[in-house]
């Protein structure tokens, strides 16, 4: 066994230069090569108490898979990861490792933690590139489960159940499987070929995917149960975008981040001559500070915007996006207008000529400066307006990325399904809802959160469904 690598810093992730990637939808982070992966793996001390594992929502056996990497047994490493995670190549790319596994890494006490996410990605990519072994369906156990939504929680739940011999059908409202992995997270952060590969793996496990079926409309949860499904898992996602309720949100050029990203990613508006239109170029303000806001800002830049602002009412400290995305966005030239809050979106209005085609398009956004006041109930310092500090940014497009409210379609058509005051489905620790045999997880329960927490919920529910149906 080689000696541990005691370097205080992670092996840097090779990335495309900011100048090139600001105009390209190709993946930004290029991934470790074999030698770098080996060198990084040697930074892991293989702690017996494995603090990193407790930081992972799906409890990947991290030191064990890294030990396999040290032995250059990459397929062995993949097998260990895939025991816990249905989507390793996705998680290695989009998990906020800095607040999860890596936050618990002993190496992080003095220096940087082990690059666990980068190693996970390396192992998953190695497998996808080299392994010819497709998973095969398991011996059926005679039980059927319906999964609502093919996003991260649904795919995880489907995968775990299929591996136990359940007959699993996933119902997807859109025309393509993947949920937010397809319509939301952009190509340059998560190539769609990776998602497709993960979905194909599920198909070879025997999972059926029915696209164009909207549960709550085309079929209801109760009908699925009547049709003989032994359990239903609802992973229908975050739902409708929120708006601020300020003047001008109905102007042309105002998008929700969901719409902007869906046009760009799912409907491929970034390609030449797309069939689905999108406003490109000009100056863009993205309101919000989450991962979705970063994705929207960076898409806008790649679609040809000359200037992109992130407008966020708190400071850099509180910005909720994944650190790497914030750094990448800043490197690409996106300007952060922090401690700023929009008051009004201003549109073009030619009073002389009501048929002027420019009428009704956004020209600017008026904001007010904020300062941080007393902490709120969650301990975050509350932003407070500074009087008379208004300023105006000239922009052509405004993208609202300030969260979502749950989709009403399932709640309103499912008898006996209880939701909380924010509209999220109420579940117990097993993911079981107020309705027998109906489970839920992911954003439909928590409101907008991360891919990995949704996967964790899908996993928990799969375990509970298996326990309840196979006892």
């Amino acid at each position: 066994m080689a000696k541990p690598n005691m370097s205080l810093i992670k092996n840097p992730m090779p990335t495309e230069s900011p100048e090139v990637r600001a105009h390209s939808f190709s993946e930004v982070a290029k991934g470790y090569d074999k030698d770098t992966a080996l060198d990084e793996a040697l930074r892991c001390l293989g702690c017996k108490n494995m603090p990193c594992v407790s930081g992972c929502p799906v409890n990947v056996r991290i030191p064990d898979f890294i030990a396999k990497v040290k032995e250059c047994d990459f397929e062995g490493a993949y097998k260990i990861i895939s025991e816990s995670s249905s989507l390793p190549a996705v998680c290695g790319r989009v998990c906020p490792q800095e607040t999860q596994c890596e936050a618990k890494c002993v190496r992080g006490i003095k220096g940087e933690p082990v690059g666990i996410g980068r190693l996970e990605r390396f192992v998953a990519d190695w497998h996808n590139e080299h392994s010819t072994e497709a998973p095969t369906p398991k011996e059926p156990n005679g039980k059927r489960v319906a999964i609502v939504g093919s996003g991260p929680s649904g795919l995880t739940c489907a995968g775990d159940l299929a591996r136990l011999g359940f007959e699993v059908t996933v119902f997807e409202a859109l025309h393509t499987a993947g949920g937010v992995l397809v319509y939301g997270i952009p190509e340059f952060r998560l190539p769609k070929s990776i998602v497709k590969k993960e979905v194909d793996n599920l198909l070879s496990l025997g999972v059926k995917i029915e696209t164009n079926v909207i549960i709550g409309k085309t079929l209801t949860v109760d009908e699925l149960l009547e049709d003989g499904y032994d359990a239903v898992f609802i992973g229908s996602g975050a739902g409708l975008p929120s708006f601020m309720g300020i003047p001008g949100e109905g102007l042309k050029g105002v998008y929700s981040a969901n719409e902007f990203l869906t046009r760009t990613n799912l409907m491929k508006a970034y390609k030449e001559n797309p069939e689905t239109p999108i406003m490109k170029g000009g100056r863009v303000a993205v309101v919000g500070g989450g991962n979705v806001a970063m994705d929207a800002a960076r898409c806008a830049l790649r679609l040809g915007a000359e200037k992109v602002y992130i407008v966020y009412r708190r400071s850099m400290e509180e910005l909720p996006a994944r650190r790497e995305e914030v750094e990448h966005a800043a490197e690409e030239g996106i300007e952060f207008r922090l401690l700023s809050n929009p008051k009004e979106i201003i549109g073009y209005e030619n009073k002389e000529d009501r048929r002027d085609p420019k009428n009704g398009f956004v020209t600017a956004i008026r904001c007010v400066k904020m300062e941080l006041g007393e902490p709120d109930e969650r301990g975050r310092r509350r932003p407070v307006e500074i009087p008379d500090s208004d300023f105006t940014l000239e922009v052509d497009t405004v993208i609202m990325s300030i969260g979502t409210t749950p989709n009403p379609l399932i709640k309103s058509t499912t008898e006996g399904l209880e939701v909380n005051s924010r509209g999220g489905i109420i579940v117990n620790a097993d993911g079981l809802t107020s309705k027998a045999a109906v489970y839920a997880g992911g954003d439909a329960v928590t409101g907008a959160a991360t891919v990995i927490s949704a996967m964790g919920a899908g996993k928990t529910a799969a375990r509970a469904i298996a326990e309840s149906l196979l006892k």
Binding site: A173, K217, T218, P241, G250, E275
Partner: protein
């Protein structure tokens, strides 16, 4: 893939198709809509359900050829397939308890108004239909409307068929004669619905409109179809895909909706022209 069972041209710019989609046909109700994609690269467009046959498992759509996507759809024939067809979406039109209703349809909007008129007729309600078109050659579904209406008014902008004028003309006359209805339901171009609402407002008769904004997913995810309602002096954002497509006409901000509807006008015109040129070259 979803098979086109029948296709019929209703006039030079409007086509009817029956699509085989048993799950959608089983649930579809008047006032709901579907989302379709013609091919794997196509955009998603919403079209209102113009009829359904639960036994044959088909859903009827009627569309006007206005752009590239509808032109591509219109190039397909019976027996061919479209890529995606999802629904039924939106809330069905609320008709419970209505005994005397005035249906006001304009242009291709008449295709959406017809199933509502049919349903009201089946329910035993008195149906007064006012249907308007630009000119004689664009008139559609006249016989179908006649079959379910107790009273039918046809108008054309140029007077080439029926009476000359827009749909507000017969409406105004009926109101001035003191005609009362339980409800006025109007479906057509935004500007027409805006005027029907304005015409009806002084009478105090409830007036519902069917909104057809730009949509992408149609399932309550993207927010592109949002519109603003003025409810008791407050401005409220609603989503046509899950809250509509029917709304109380007195509350809808039509000016904003009309403005938003033109957001991609240049893009659409360009795409349509390119599409037409392409096929001119081929043929």
């Amino acid at each position: 893939m979803y098979r086109i069972v029948t296709k019929k041209e209703l006039n030079p710019t409007v086509t009817m198709m029956e699509i085989e989609a048993p799950l959608v046909a089983r649930k579809a109700e008047a006032g709901q809509f579907i989302i379709l994609r013609v091919d794997s690269e196509g955009e998603r467009i919403p079209l209102t359900v113009a009829g359904y046959d639960r036994v044959r498992g088909t859903v009827k759509i009627i569309f006007q050829i206005v752009g590239k996507t509808t032109a591509s759809l219109n190039r397909l024939s019976a027996g061919e397939y479209i890529e995606d067809f999802a629904g039924p979406l939106g809330v069905p039109t609320e008709l419970c308890g209505l005994n005397d209703v005035c249906i006001v349809g304009g242009g291709v909007g008449c295709a959406i108004a017809l199933p509502i008129a049919e349903k009201l007729h089946r329910m035993g309600a008195r149906v007064t239909s006012v249907i308007g078109f630009r000119s004689r050659d664009l008139v559609i579904l006249e016989d179908e409307f006649r079959a379910v209406s107790d009273e039918l008014h046809i108008v054309t902008d140029d007077g080439s068929y029926g009476r000359e004028g827009n749909v507000c003309l017969p409406l105004r006359e009926m109101f001035s004669e003191g005609r009362k209805f339980d409800k006025v339901i109007t479906i057509g171009p935004l500007v027409m619905m805006k005027f029907v609402v304005a015409e009806t407002r002084p009478t105090g008769i409830p007036c519902d409109v069917s909104m057809n904004p730009i949509m992408i997913d149609g399932t309550g995810m993207c927010g592109g179809c949002r519109l603003t309602l003025n409810v008791d002096g407050k401005r409220v954002t609603k989503f046509a895909c899950v809250d509509g497509p029917d709304f109380n006409g007195y509350e809808v901000d039509f000016d904003e909706a009309m403005s938003r509807g033109t957001m991609y006008r240049d893009f659409e015109r360009h795409a349509y022209e390119e599409h037409c040129n392409l096929f001119k070259k081929q043929s």
